[in-house]
Symmetry: C2
Subunit: 109 residues, 2 copies
DNA sequence: CGGGCACATAACCTGTTGGCTATATTACGG
DNA sequence: CCGTAATATAGCCAACAGGTTATGTGCCCG
């Protein structure tokens, strides 16, 4: 089963998520909103669903899809340790530890 | 040229980033740190480099790689509009707007 | 209760990707 | 200068992903 990153790597799937960001949508609405065949959309929705990125609500013959937060929150969490690379300053000590954590090899020169 | 998401979709590339998170590393050090052939590592490094996710510093015959922040910051930015899905509460008005922003179709039933 | 919607699944084809082995390249050290 | 160390590139192959068309399935409506 694909990782969240795999799933998000697909532009059309990010497009779908963008469409869902403003609220639930049926498959047909998604198809209308993005030049791609209906089976194509369904295929992506399946991937999104299996990765837990969207939720379905069956309503008569329609299926309403909406964004699920958890996997996105995981990405956010994955990003956390890197965040110090671009957010303002970090503790001088912390930086020092990083620089020297692996020293001891052929590191002198 | 691959998007940042494409690049991050590869587990080995995330592994490389993880190794670089604690400071610069040479290719050889990366190879030692992750069961994968040297050409394999170099190939991934090339992708990471072209996507701007890492930087190289040539030093004698060694190449020292390190993390570059920008693309990661972009991911962070992409995540922003979704963040409200899992961070605490959001403004009632904002939620209301989302729920009703597209209403007017076959939305009643 | 039969026809048509809305959606999912199947089957097929093609392009891309990642791994490997072999080889080119460049810089030192002696 | 030569040999070797460190890394990049080339070439090859198997696996996979995404698009398309055709078809299955369930549910409302007249």
């Amino acid at each position: 089963m694909a990782t969240t990153f795999d799933v998000l790597a697909e532009p059309r799937r990010r497009e779908i998520l963008d469409l869902l960001r403003t609220g639930e949508r049926s498959v047909g609405e998604l198809v209308d909103g993005m030049s791609l065949s209906q089976p194509g959309v369904s295929k992506h929705l399946r991937v999104l669903r299996e990765a837990g990125l969207v939720d379905v609500r069956v309503e008569a013959q329609r299926r309403r899809y909406r964004v699920r937060a958890e996997p996105l929150a995981e990405i956010d969490a994955w990003l956390a340790p890197y965040r110090r690379f671009w957010t303002g300053r970090l503790d001088a000590l912390e930086r020092h530890l990083d620089e020297t954590s692996r020293t001891g090899t052929t590191d002198k020169e």
